[in-house]
C-alpha cells in the first residue's frame, strides 16, 4: 500500500460534479481530506490518498482527465 499527499484544484465549471465520489467508486483507493475551500468560484482540497501504486496512478490520471489540477502537496518542485 502506498500513500500520497495531494493538492487538487477544481476549475469553476467542475465544482458541482462529484468527482471524488467517482474516484472512490472506480478505483480501489481511500481518500482522507485534510483541508478544503470550496465556494461557488473555486474549489481546492488537500488530501491523502492510500492504495496500490497502480490504483493511485489511475485515479490521478482520471482526475486530470476531468480537468482537475493535481499536484503534490509541496506545489511545483521542479525548477528550471
Amino acid at each position: 500500500m502506498e500513500s500520497i499527499k495531494l493538492k487538487l484544484i477544481y476549475p469553476e465549471d467542475k465544482i458541482k460534479e462529484p468527482i471524488l465520489s467517482r474516484v472512490c467508486k472506480n478505483f480501489d483507493v481511500e481518500i482522507n481530506i485534510r483541508k478544503a475551500n470550496v465556494t461557488e468560484n473555486i474549489g481546492w482540497l488537500e488530501l491523502e490518498m492510500t492504495g496500490d501504486e497502480d490504483q493511485i496512478e489511475q485515479a490521478i490520471k482520471f482526475m486530470e482527465s476531468q480537468g482537475i489540477e493535481v499536484s503534490p502537496l509541496e506545489g511545483q518542485i521542479f525548477l528550471e
Binding site: 473555486i42 481546492w44 509541496e74 506545489g75 511545483q76
Partner: protein, 412 residues
Amino acid sequence: MAKVKALKCKECGKEYPVEPIHVCEYCFGPLEIEYDYDEIKKIVSREKIENGPKSLWRYVDLLPVDNPSVGLSAGFTPLIKAEKLGRKLGLNNLYIKDDSVNHPTLSFKDRVVAVALSKAKEFGFDTAACASTGNLANSVAANAAASGMNCYVFIPANLETNKIIGSLVFNPTVVAVEGNYDDVNRLSSEVANEFGWAFVNINVRPFYSEGSKTLAFEVAEQLGWKAPDAVVAPLASGSLYTKIWKGFNELKTVGLISDNSPRMYGAQASGCSPIYKAFKEGRDWIVPEKPDTIAKSIAIGNPADGPYAVKVGKESSGDMEIATDQEIIEGMKLLAETEGIFTETAGGTTIAVLKRFAEKGVFDPDEIVVAYITGNGYKTMEVLEGHLNKPIHIKPSLHEFKEKVIGIKVKK
C-alpha cells in the same frame, strides 16, 4: 538550551521535533523552524558576526545548523551603491545586492543549498536530490560533489541535455523522467517521501528555505546595521521574498537593528504571475498557471509559498508588479549598461519592476531601496540573441576604422 526549539506548523501551530519533515501531519500545513530568540539574544552580537567567516555562516546563530559543513564560501556577496541606475530612476540611495556572484554556482541557490545540505549531513543523510535543470541543480550538484554526497537530479526526459551541462559536470546521477513537468513534480514528491535522501526543496525544505534569510542579514550589516526602507525581490515559489522579510524581522527581534522592516515589493513575469494575481485580487489562495515566459528560473506556476508571500506583501505595506518578456530583457540591459552587472532573466524582472515602481513614485527619492539580483546572466545568454547591438564590420584598414567606427570622413 538550543537556539532551535522545534519545527512548527505555519497553519495550525502544532510543534514537531527537529527532524527531516516538512508537512504537518494534521492539517498538511508547511513546517517552519521555531527559534528560541531569548537564547539567541544571549549569544549573538554585531561584533561576533563581524569577526565571523566571510560567508553566510557568520550568521550561524540565526540559522538552523550547528556544524556548517557544506557551502562554506556561500554568501557574503557585494552590496553595490547603484549611482548610475539610481540617477536614471530618480533614486539617490539605490543599492544592488549582487548574488549573481555567489559561490560556487553564481546564484542565490548557493545559500539555501549550503544550509539544506549542512543540515542534511547533521541528520546523517549521504544523498542529496532535487528536480531542476537550472540554478538549483547547479548548486545541489556542485555542493554534493564538494562535500562527498551522492547526488540525484530529476528532469523531464524530453529536455535537451545541453540545458544541464552546468550540472552534469559535477557528475550527479541524472534521472530523465518520461513525462511532463507535473509528472516530474509528483514523482519527486513520492521519492522524497519514500527514500532516505535529502530532497532539498521537499523533506529538508524548512531548513533549505532559511538560507534566504541571509540575504536580509547581509544587507543590514552592509548598510551599517540598518534595514532599508524598501526592497524589490523576485517572486518564484514566494520563499525568498518571505524569508527576506523574516530575516529583517529577526534582526530586530534579537536587537541587532532597531529599524522597522522594509516595504516588500515583489516582481513576477507577466507570463507566470500567480502570486501577483492573488495579491491584486485580494485572494489568499493561488490559482496555478502554465508558465509562458523567458524568465524560466522564476516561472513557478504552482508556488508553495504563494499565500505567505501575499500576506507579507500586505503586512509590509508593499506591492507587486509584473514585467513582460521585452521589459525583462530591457531590465537586464539596463542593469548591465548602468552598473556593469550581467544578470539573468529573474534579475531583469526585478529591475523592470523596480523601474516601474520608481516611475509610479512609490519611493521617496532619498529612501534606501535595495534590489535583489539573484542569478547570473552568463548562464542564459541565449535570451538576449537579437536584442543587442551588432558588431561593426570593417576591413583591416585604418581608413575604414576611421570612417565606419569613429565617423571621420577621410579624404582620398
